[in-house]
């Protein structure tokens, strides 16, 4: 079974046509990979489907806009994968 990171990285690679080997756990989706908000909708759709979750993007965006969180906390891929794992675990709880 592929890791959360492998699944997310494959989705990003296919959705945004980014070479898979350039996508690292420390990559920031926006700052390093240049993914814009529209492309991120496609990625979110694919991640939601793949993991059976609903990533709370509106809440995350609000927290960043309010200065309560940094984009690194949600959009650096290792952190994003942690959030995804938490959502999957919460779903099964």
């Amino acid at each position: 079974m592929p890791s959360t990171f492998d699944t997310v990285a494959n989705i990003i690679s296919e959705t945004c046509d980014i070479p898979r080997d350039t996508i690292k756990p420390e990559s920031h989706a926006i700052n390093d990979l240049g993914i814009d908000s529209l492309d991120f909708l496609d990625i979110a759709f694919a991640i939601d489907k793949a993991f059976g979750i609903k990533m709370p993007l509106e809440q995350w965006t609000q927290e960043v806009n309010d200065g309560k969180a940094t984009t690194e906390q949600y959009f650096q891929l290792s952190n994003l994968c942690t959030r995804i794992d938490e959502l999957v675990a919460a779903k099964g709880a």
Binding site: L38, A44, D48, K54, M55, Q59
Partner: protein, 157 residues
Amino acid sequence: MRLEYFQLIDRIVELDLTAQTILVEARVPTTSTIFEGHFPGYPLMPGVLLIEAMAQTAGWLVIGVTKFTRMPFFAALKEAKLRSFISPGQDLNLSAKLLHQGSGFAVAKAQIHRDGKLVCNAELTFRLVEFPNLEFRANMEKMAQVLQFPAEALADG
């Protein structure tokens, strides 16, 4: 349809919030200045307007599913197919099904049939945002009445 007002659908026939589907009717007007250019001597409904008609159909479905709390703005289009020419005066049956309601976005599939035959289909993505202002929302509520949006479906769903 009232092309000059960018109203591409006429009536919501059915809104099923359980199945997350919508059925809509539209009649292409017999005359419009659009047909003078598209095309002289051979009037055809422009494909971009058929896509907009699918977007409006799916958009009203999203408004229903979100219970009028979010405004869907058309953001992306995939796999659009314009399979047949559509002429002035033709009756169209439009439908949409929600594929996914994410956080701040929704994805739907939409189709147009004419005389039972599939003539257009596409996958559409919308950004969902709060209504920008009260005037905007009031106009959408007015349009909902024009389209016979089944407000009772919101109470049931």
